[in-house]
Subunit: 202 residues, 2 copies
Amino acid sequence: MTSVSRRRAGRPPGESRTRERILGAARSLFAEQGFDRTSLRGVAAAAGVDVALVSHYFGSKQRLFAEAAALPVDPAEVVPRVLAGPREEIGRRLIEQVLDILDAPESRQRVVALIRAAASEEGAAQVVRERLAREMLEPVAAALGSSDAPLRAALTNAQIVGLVMSRHILGVEATVAAGREQLAAALAPALQHFLTGPLDRR
Amino acid sequence: MTSVSRRRAGRPPGESRTRERILGAARSLFAEQGFDRTSLRGVAAAAGVDVALVSHYFGSKQRLFAEAAALPVDPAEVVPRVLAGPREEIGRRLIEQVLDILDAPESRQRVVALIRAAASEEGAAQVVRERLAREMLEPVAAALGSSDAPLRAALTNAQIVGLVMSRHILGVEATVAAGREQLAAALAPALQHFLTGPLDRR
């Protein structure tokens, strides 16, 4: 059946280009509509290919999601950049990295799709828990030499997820309208507190 | 048709008790399954009533949601409580109120349902934007006499939404395992910063 519909859809020359086109369409739809309302059929239509081709490459909606919404950055690149420099400016460096990701349309779309889906889909929640918290923020917190690195990473993660919800999902006017420098200045001290501040002072 | 199915479902003596039972079932299902996966039929089954009765009382899923997931607190009660006391402890008083809400099962369920749904449903996003940010947190920020009350309210809101996502929706282990006092102590300074700190210092 797959080969029939491939023929019907006219199999494109570059497999990887088609795959990328499907992933791009999936990212847009997952970000706009959320996980539940996005269908393989809708992704196929947006990518201009037959739905059987989407199934052939990705199998299920869960698998398509996992590939489309992987973190848009490689922790191995970002973590050293956040760590390099004075310890008391780590909050500032982290928020700059986060805003870089959120200000580029393609990577913003991935993050929004991921967080939107994480609210309703356990598979996506797991990606946020493991990749964002464990692979990216825990190494940062651990490198600072604190005993409570997991809690520091989790609170930092919560702050970033809250920002994405406010600015890109709920569309709270004040965070949408705020300039990049204004957001960075306002959020850096809170991230700095979570990463290096005294967490247990009454 | 309504009167037939009411008879079939065995109309209970107290209308308001039935309404409350339906709302309770709706809250549980919206919180567990999210907006998209919850159906009027599922709510009716969980409440032990005929689906026509649910339609009769609430009309659409959107209206049922709006009633089930209204904020679990009245801003007119909470705002004065947060404002009463030393200005430099307002972050602490706010996080105590938030943790009170999140530690009581029924009100936690409402907040979780609301935020989960806000990720996929514009109607729910609007409730979070208007009721949480505008009615509750803006008056707090405005009472502190700052010119940038909307941004302060929005960042405070983002922090709270991020906490709910982390602890109750994503289930990030470190925030789930943290004790109440530990969370309050860790989050109070960040909320204090958003409400009264210098937002624009480089």
